[in-house]
């Protein structure tokens, strides 16, 4: 049973518009959530995170929203740039092994000029 789900395999947006990437989780013990970005032939790089005690975290063009009751988080990128084109992974941690991150299958974002 997949505990972290990214239901949209791909997303295409126009440069300058907003990109919204979604993630759902099932494990109530998760209390920390992270987004990673991955370019081809490179490892994932950390983008932004949020603790379960917050419902929003912002870092420049990137904002993550957390809805604990719905077990849902989203990543907003505004404005989107062509360099944002990459695979975005949602990850969650918490519970008995708090150091373990469980990843979703990723969403491929394409930002068109």
């Amino acid at each position: 049973d997949q505990q972290v789900k990214q239901n949209s395999p791909s997303l295409s947006v126009q440069e300058g518009r907003i990109s919204i990437l979604n993630c759902d989780y099932t494990n109530s013990m998760f209390d920390y959530f992270l987004w990673y970005k991955k370019y081809p032939a490179e490892g994932p790089t950390f983008l932004i995170s949020i603790s379960s005690i917050k419902d929003k975290n912002e870092d420049g063009r990137f904002t993550v929203f957390l809805n604990k009751s719905a077990k849902h988080l989203s990543l907003h990128i505004v404005p989107s740039q062509p360099g944002d084109s990459a695979v975005y992974f949602c990850a969650a941690g918490g519970g008995p092994n708090a150091g373990k991150s469980t990843f979703g299958d990723g969403t491929t974002l394409t930002v068109k000029p």
């Binding site: 972290v4 990214q6 395999p9 209390d31 920390y32 992270l34 990673y36 032939a41 490179e42 490892g43 994932p44 790089t45 950390f46 995170s49 992974f89 990850a91 941690g93 918490g94 092994n97 708090a98 150091g99 373990k100 991150s101 469980t102 990843f103 979703g104 299958d105 990723g106």
Partner: protein
């Protein structure tokens, strides 16, 4: 910025052969992870070390996979014998936080192809 080093970048091997991957984490990072990423899926944890001790290897196929971090610094992941289904990207990551979730620093991975 310090990086996680992995080698080799690419490895092609025939099934039933042995393969080994090496990882050097960021200096001072006590926690080291090996993840496997199959194309189209997210990274899946194989093994987690805290210093030289295994914290979690529940998803490691122990009949063919082994991992060690003898001095609590660099680490080796071995597969013997390799099977066709082992073709994947093997990612090493490290973090500075001994307990609790913190961002992982990934290497660029080893792409394994088993023929």
């Amino acid at each position: 910025e310090a990086e996680v080093a992995q080698s080799p970048r690419y490895k092609i091997t025939e099934k039933s052969q042995a393969v080994a991957f090496w990882c050097d984490p960021i200096s001072g990072h006590a926690t080291l992870y090996w993840y496997r990423q199959i194309l189209g899926q997210g990274p899946e944890l194989l093994v987690q070390f805290q210093d030289e001790s295994v914290v979690d290897d529940s998803q490691l196929p122990k009949d063919r996979f082994s991992a060690e971090r003898l001095k609590g610094v660099d680490s080796t992941l071995k597969i013997q014998p390799a099977e066709l289904g082992d073709s994947a990207m093997y990612l090493c990551a490290s973090s500075s936080e001994p307990q609790g979730v913190s961002p992982l620093h990934f290497g660029n991975g080893t792409r394994l192809t088993v023929t």
